[in-house]
């Protein structure tokens, strides 16, 4: 078994895995252990891992997605109520 880090398009680690064979897709690099907490967000450049971590900016603020869903549901309910009222 071997341990691999999976890299994104910027060569930043976004995952680790323990598998049977090397995955030769240009996105995997062999690592000595599958320590996700250590490798995630580190950049692999010139055969070395950065000390800095390049954690992505959160795509949605905490709870924002759910809040948006709730707002959509509220709007849908309001529209339904209006349309229902108009039909009476």
């Amino acid at each position: 078994m071997i341990h691999l880090a999976e890299l994104n398009e910027n060569n930043v680690c976004i995952g680790v895995k323990t598998v049977m064979y090397m995955i030769d897709d240009g996105k995997h690099v062999e690592i000595p252990s599958s320590d996700f907490e250590y490798y995630v967000w580190r950049k692999y450049e010139n055969g070395e891992w950065s000390t800095e971590k390049y954690e992505p900016k959160t795509t949605a603020s905490l709870g924002e997605f759910e809040d948006m869903q709730q707002r959509i549901s509220d709007l849908e309910a309001a529209i339904a109520a209006i349309l229902g009222g108009a039909g009476v």
Binding site: K17, V19, M20, I23, D25, F36, V40, G63, E66
Partner: protein
């Protein structure tokens, strides 16, 4: 992070009739208020032949209370959740150590850009393999749909997680292939 919980473990040695199972352990764990992880000690297993399963609940419900589980050594299992919630996450776990294991693969991946993650693995016979996946998300939201997911063999070399919404999402997986 240290060992946060070490509750009683029910442990059974299996022999004879259930030929593919070496041992089973059950136990409980919890991730405490404002914490994001817990590590428990278990009776020693061969981690390369074992999987961990879990069920969970929280005092209230945040999507971020949902835990992932992984075996980190022959004697330890780690649980993580995505959000340092004020709630406790209560966990019931089972570690199964198998015989007749051809291979065990495992890993952890991150996704913040889509509702689907495909993970490449070494080829397995999916008809002789078990796949276990758990997911955690960074969210204080309470929408149940954000805590729903599936995991499947998409091919002999790919597993697929599918879920709803774009959030910081961590996917922990285990694949055991039998002889």
């Amino acid at each position: 992070m240290g060992v946060l919980d070490n509750f009683a473990i029910d442990s059974y040695k299996i022999d004879g009739a259930i030929g593919s199972i070496e041992s089973i352990q059950h136990g409980t764990a919890s991730i405490g208020s404002n914490a994001t992880s817990a590590t428990i000690n278990i009776n020693s297993v061969d981690a390369s032949k074992s999987i961990v399963l879990l069920t969970w609940r929280s005092e209230d419900f945040y999507v971020g209370d949902m835990p992932t589980a992984k075996i980190i050594s022959n004697t330890q299992v780690r649980f993580d959740r995505g959000y340092n919630s004020p709630n406790f996450t209560f966990i019931r776990w089972t570690v199964i150590e198998f015989k007749n294991v051809r291979s065990k693969q495992s890993g952890e991946a991150y996704n913040s850009t889509s509702g689907q993650t495909d993970i490449t693995i070494s080829p397995v016979n999916t008809n002789k393999s078990i796949l276990v996946g758990t997911m955690r998300r960074y969210s204080s939201g309470t929408a149940l749909m954000s805590a729903i997911y599936t995991v499947e063999f998409y091919s002999s070399t790919q597993i697929r997680f599918t879920f709803v919404g774009i959030l910081d999402t961590y996917l922990v997986w285990q694949v055991v292939e039998f002889d």
